[in-house]
């Protein structure tokens, strides 16, 4: 991915201001308060210079001259100084607080919007976008979009402050004002140059920071593979290479900052010196008074720092624009899964029909066709087994049955209604899928099974019993309230599968779709699960993807799939009879066994020899 760091140019600036305008329109009151506070701050900053000047002139100097003063005058002076500062402090606090509030409100608003969109967009869209990218859209990009809000009120205040200062200097002395009009634009201009130079290197560093994180994440996630193959050193080199690139990028950022920061600090000082030089000449000619000159010099030092706030806003603009474009990309993504109006049928087991379904995944090389004209049905209460070799499209088929994706052609009908015509939630109320890869939430056992629905505990336990999970759940320290950790990390693969199964069973679905959902479960345990399903299984239609014969044997009908096509349908015995592929697949073990026995009978005497030749073959 390119660093994506547009420079500050008029177009980007316009776009950036557009983003800010979105925020201003969304939070007009908070923005107004923050700007009001900032203007107060600006006015009081200039005001504090004036107050100190007045105090010196009217209280301090007369006192020194006359050798006496009054308590009233001193109290008034002190009160004025403190009052102006208090107002300034109020301005600072208000500006900071409301700017922050606006920023965080906008972040929250768009994080919600982005997540809602994730939950709304079809899975096909999810498949096209890497997880890391989606996470950073919701996090870093939202944050970047609204980053210029923080310094924005200050910048608005500064503009105001500059106007006051300009008028005030202009009224004092036109010649000295000219110096100001040279220095202030110079600072502003230098700031723009600074941000232009900084933006690309900073964005590059940001990009590399993400890359370093990606490498670390993947490497730690594959930690077991790294360990078992002894690749720690190679992984460290891979990481060190990215870390070194980040180091260089950070040093590049440092060079730019290290150059511009001192220059930006020196510039106002040089301005003050110029004012003094010219001012002293004007002073001699009597064009201005010493007091005026001091006040102008003081204004210069006061403005030197806040004027940089303009630069901060500009600095954030390119990042904000890039972040906003990505966020909009998510929010504007089309292709939602439209829902119909039809309510799900109720009652006992569902009637499933799959008619001429075709499906392809989008890839870089064009669509990869996975299912070609698949048709089959499952009558209410019946069990259908889908059998086929690894990679033949079975999992894709199961995701079509519960409408995780829609077919490109053909249709899936539940009780005679096309899944696309069912209203939102209609499919989930009828059908439950237990996928091959179980996903558990970082929640309690109960939470993972009920998924927030109001399911009484006895029904949860009943589901756990059916899934043969009641034993180990009861042995967990907090039973149903035990937290399972990130993605169920504290449980074994078989335990996770059984919880996922219980999750499906607890909803008493009318159609149960099992995608090789017991592969990590012992055959013995699986037997018990299947027996349980069969006993209480009158009210449910089951579609099961399986390899194990015992599982297949429970089915009333078998659908044999190869390369995305239904090659045959019928009872297990019939398929054994007429389909060679099916026979080879389900009888693989017996055939292997038979051949093994044959080989053993042949080679009992030649075993030692076999080993020898084997070893030679290795060398």
């Amino acid at each position: 991915m390119p660093p994506g760091s547009p420079r500050v140019n008029p177009r980007i600036l316009r776009e950036g201001l557009g983003v800010l305008w979105v925020a201003v329109r969304a939070e007009p009151w908070v923005f107004a308060l923050s700007v009001a506070a900032s203007v107060l701050y600006a006015a009081m900053t200039v005001g504090s210079a004036t107050v100190l000047g007045r105090v010196t002139e009217h209280v301090v100097l007369p006192a020194f001259r006359e050798g006496r003063t009054t308590a009233g005058a001193l109290a008034l002076a002190a009160a004025a100084i403190v009052a102006v500062s208090a107002l300034k402090a109020l301005g600072v606090a208000g500006r900071r607080f409301y700017a922050g509030l606006m920023q965080y409100r906008m972040q929250a608003r768009y994080r919600r919007a982005v997540t809602r969109q994730y939950l709304r967009l079809p899975l096909a869209w999810h498949h096209r976008h890497p997880t890391g990218q989606l996470l950073s859209n919701a996090n870093a990009d939202v944050e970047a979009s609204w980053a210029p809000i923080a310094p924005l009120p200050m910048a608005v205040g500064v503009v105001f402050m500059l106007l006051i200062a300009a008028v005030s200097i202009l009224l004092t002395d036109v010649t000295v004002a000219l110096v100001g009009f040279l220095v202030f634009p110079a600072i502003a201009l230098l700031n723009v140059v600074y941000q232009r130079r900084l933006a690309p290197v900073a964005t590059h560093a940001q990009q590399l920071r993400a890359e370093v994180s990606e490498v670390a994440h993947e490497s730690f996630e594959g930690g077991l593979v790294v360990k078992t193959l002894g690749r720690e050193t190679a992984e460290t080199e891979r990481f060190a290479e990215r870390a070194a690139a980040l180091r260089d990028a950070n040093i590049a950022v440092g060079r730019v900052r290290g150059l511009f920061d001192p220059v930006l600090e020196a510039l106002p000082s040089l301005g003050v010196l110029a004012v003094l030089m010219i001012g002293s000449l004007r002073l001699r000619s009597g064009a201005m008074t010493a007091g005026d000159l001091v006040q102008v010099a003081y204004l210069f030092t006061l403005l030197a720092f806040p004027i940089r706030a303009l630069g901060w806003v500009l600095a954030e603009v390119p990042r904000s624009v890039v972040g906003w474009r990505r966020v909009r990309g998510v929010l504007d993504a089309g292709g939602s899964l439209p829902y119909g109006e039809a309510g799900p049928a109720s009652g006992s087991a569902a009637d499933l029909e799959v008619r001429g379904v075709r499906f392809a995944y989008e890839t870089e090389d064009g669509p990869a066709r996975v299912l070609h004209d698949v048709s089959f049905g499952a009558a209410p209460g019946r069990t259908v087994a889908v059998v086929g070799p690894t990679g033949s499209g079975k999992s894709t088929l199961t995701s079509l049955l519960v409408r995780l994706v829609d077919p490109h052609d053909g249709s899936v009908l539940l009780d005679g209604t096309d899944l696309r015509d069912l209203r939102h939630g209609g499919v989930a109320a009828t059908a439950a899928l237990v996928p091959q890869q179980t996903f558990l939430f970082d929640d309690t056992v109960r939470g993972n099974i009920t998924l927030g629905q109001d399911v009484p505990d006895d029904r949860v336990w009943e589901a756990l019993r059916l899934a043969q999970a009641d034993g180990f759940v009861a042995a967990l320290p907090d039973g149903l309230d035990t937290r399972v950790g990130e993605r169920g990390a504290t449980l074994s693969g078989g335990q996770r599968q059984r919880l996922a199964l219980a999750r499906a069973l607890a909803r008493r679905p009318r159609l149960l779709v099992l995608d090789d959902a017991t592969s990590a479960v012992d055959p013995q345990v699986e037997q018990r699960i299947l027996a349980g399903l069969r006993e209480g299984g009158d009210g449910v239609t089951v579609v099961v993807v399986a390899y194990r014969k015992a599982t297949i044997a429970l089915a009333d009908e078998v659908v044999y799939v190869e390369h995305g096509r239904v090659l045959d349908r019928g009872a297990h015995a019939e398929l054994l009879e007429r389909s060679e592929g099916y026979r080879n697949l389900v009888n693989a073990y017996e055939r292997a066994e038979a051949e093994q026995e044959a080989v053993e009978n042949e080679t009992t005497e030649g075993e030692a020899l076999g080993n020898e030749t084997g070893e030679e073959a290795l060398r």
């Binding site: 001193l74 009160a79 600072v92 370093v212 190679a234 870390a243 440092g254 996903f439 014969k549 073990y589």
Partner: protein, 593 residues
């Protein structure tokens, strides 16, 4: 020990800094020069305003009107000082950036390596995200501080000191007044800073919650869709978004209060100086010029105090980050590589011996009891048993992913903990059940264990494993990208790749932990047969989930409740009553349909 070390979390900030500096020598490179430049820059920052003040005082507002030659000389000298300050600040910046970033890159890399060196148990005891942040966010925090706060601290402290000394020189009673005014602020700042840092810790926690909630809605998308729990997930995310916003707003509110507080204290101090100074002046102890100069010094004194809270915050964060990184480095790997002192095993068939091996997970019940077993070189062993009987633990001990709690494991007569990792990992390879793949092409993944393998080697290996047909069916063959965690492939296909990866690594002992559980029977049998062929002459141990594997093995080890209860060839075991016969009977019953 399975948790990351906590010692760093409890030690003082200075001790952390000292240890951190010791562990990262790059930080100290040229530090003296950098400090010298920093001193120069600081001096400039303080001297220049004072010089300006003096120029105004003596040159412009003197009793005899403006003294132009004096002003000209003074302005020129000041300009030189300003430029010198800028140049030394620039040089200091560049040096500081270079040395800290170099040091941090090294620290980051060292911590990364150390995470990989930690045992599997330690790794899995931590949240993955937490481990990642040790080498990313935590280090970035130090970097951020170094780039901004580190400089600020040096310059601020310098400015504070110089301003203090000068104030005392001008008028010690007034200086005392200023200090007394700021003393409570210094204490208040500490409290404030603690509150602020606690608030930011909360923000980070809430952001962590938010991220995991969002992450679940992305990673668990299909489950959420399948169970129609979009509303509930959205509500869950909303709660975390709201909590994060609240924490952020609270922290912002605190910060928004801190800064103006010092502004107010400064105003009180200034007002006090004006009042007291005027009274002193009336008493003849102070001139008007001295008072004006003193007021100027007060502003110099105040500005570092105002930035102090923010600097301290950054410092606090950086130290916390540093502590977490050191926490990783402090954690001794409980399964350690003997390194150069260890032994290297010569290549050739491997013999394994377990001597009275017991194992218990930390704080858990024992899962293996007194396992003693010999596995002859070149033998093909199957391990069977119910879930939780200790099969996987056995495999993990054999591959030294964990060390036994009692007893020992020997390979070719050498205790496993004395074998160098480089030798051990080359000769013994385990294929775990979950075929994790890296986000790269198929070829990159298959050659992961032997980077030198050419495409021809890979194709040959795939052919030998009987996977050539499958490979040909993929649109881009070896160049097919597998996606994150290999998720573009099906679970069964991932297992095929993981197996090929281990095979290409060419080990002498191959340990398969239900490595083909998601593969269809025909492919599995083909694979099994291919493996039999290619591993002939090597030792192979497979944890079997299908009894067909056991039937084909030379020897079967039957595990039950952490013990080996039966061993022998299938033909013998199936005859005698026991666990194996039961397992086999239920397997046969399942098939004989």
């Amino acid at each position: 020990m399975t948790a990351l070390s906590e010692t760093a979390a409890t030690e003082g900030a200075f001790s952390t800094l000292r240890r951190g500096l010791r562990l990262t020598p790059e930080f100290r490179a040229g530090l003296a020069g950098t400090l010298l430049l920093a001193l120069l820059a600081t001096a400039g920052r303080v001297v220049v305003p004072i010089a300006v003040q003096q120029t105004i005082d003596k040159g412009l507002t003197g009793t005899n009107g403006p003294d132009i030659p004096f002003v000209r000389t003074a302005v020129l000298l000041c300009a030189v000082a300003v430029l010198t300050t800028a140049v030394s600040a620039y040089l200091m910046n560049v040096r500081l950036y270079r040395s800290t970033e170099t040091g941090l890159a090294a620290l980051r890399t060292r911590a990364f390596r150390h995470v990989h060196d930690l045992s599997m148990l330690t790794q899995s005891g931590e949240r993955r995200g937490a481990l990642v942040s040790r080498v990313t966010g935590d280090v970035d925090q130090i970097s951020q501080f170094m780039q901004w706060g580190g400089l600020m601290i040096i310059v601020s402290v310098g400015q504070l000191l110089v301003a203090s000394v000068l104030m005392a020189v001008y008028s010690w009673p007034l200086a005392l007044l200023v200090w007394v005014a700021f003393l409570p602020l210094a204490f208040a700042l500490r409290r404030f800073q603690r509150l602020v840092s606690a608030a930011y810790t909360r923000v980070r926690e809430r952001m962590g919650d938010l991220l995991s909630a969002v992450s679940e809605s992305v990673v668990g998308a299909s489950v959420i869709r399948a169970y129609g729990s979009e509303e509930r997930t959205a509500a869950k995310v909303d709660v975390t978004v709201e909590a994060a916003k609240k924490a952020q707003t609270r922290a912002q509110g605190l910060v928004a209060l801190t800064f103006p507080t010092s502004e107010l204290v400064a105003a009180v101090a200034t007002a006090g100086v004006v009042v007291a100074g005027t009274l002193l002046g009336v008493g003849g102890h102070l001139t008007a010029g001295e008072l004006v100069a003193f007021l100027f010094l007060v502003t110099l004194f105040v500005s570092p105090m105002q930035t102090a809270t923010e600097v301290l915050n950054e410092a606090q964060n950086a130290i916390a980050g540093w502590r977490r990184v050191l926490g990783v480095l402090d954690t001794e790997p409980d399964v350690a590589d003997p390194g150069d002192k260890g032994e290297t095993l010569p290549r050739g068939p491997i013999e394994v011996r377990f001597e009275d091996v017991g194992f218990a997970y930390p704080g858990g019940r024992p899962v293996l009891h007194g396992v003693t077993v010999d596995i002859a070189p070149r033998s093909r062993v199957a391990i069977v048993g119910e879930t939780g009987s200790g099969k996987t633990t056995f495999a993990k001990l054999l591959t030294r992913l964990m060390d036994p709690t009692s007893g020992r494991v020997l390979v070719d007569g050498v205790p496993l903990d004395r074998v160098r990792f480089s030798s051990l990992r080359e000769r013994i390879v385990m294929v775990p059940q979950d075929g994790f793949l890296f986000d790269a092409t198929l070829a990159d993944n298959i050659r992961y264990g032997r980077p030198g393998a050419t495409d021809e080697d890979l194709l040959l290996a795939m052919t030998e494993l009987g996977l050539a047909d499958w490979l040909e069916g993929l649109p881009r063959g070896l160049e097919t990208p597998v996606g994150q965690r290999g998720e573009s492939l099906s679970a069964g296909e991932r297992q095929l790749v993981a197996l090929a990866r281990a095979y290409v690594a060419d080990p002498d002992l191959l340990v398969l932990d239900e490595a083909t559980s998601a593969v269809d029977p025909a492919t599995e049998v083909r694979l099994q047969r291919a493996l039999d062929g290619v591993t002939r002459g090597r030792t192979a141990i497979s944890i079997a989930h299908r009894m067909s594997t056991a039937e084909a093995a030379d020897e079967v080890l039957v595990f039950d409740e952490g013990r080996i209860v039966q061993r022998g060839p299938h033909a013998k075991l199936v005859e005698e009553p026991g666990v194996y016969a039961d397992l086999h009977a239920s397997w046969v019953a399942q098939r004989s349909i």
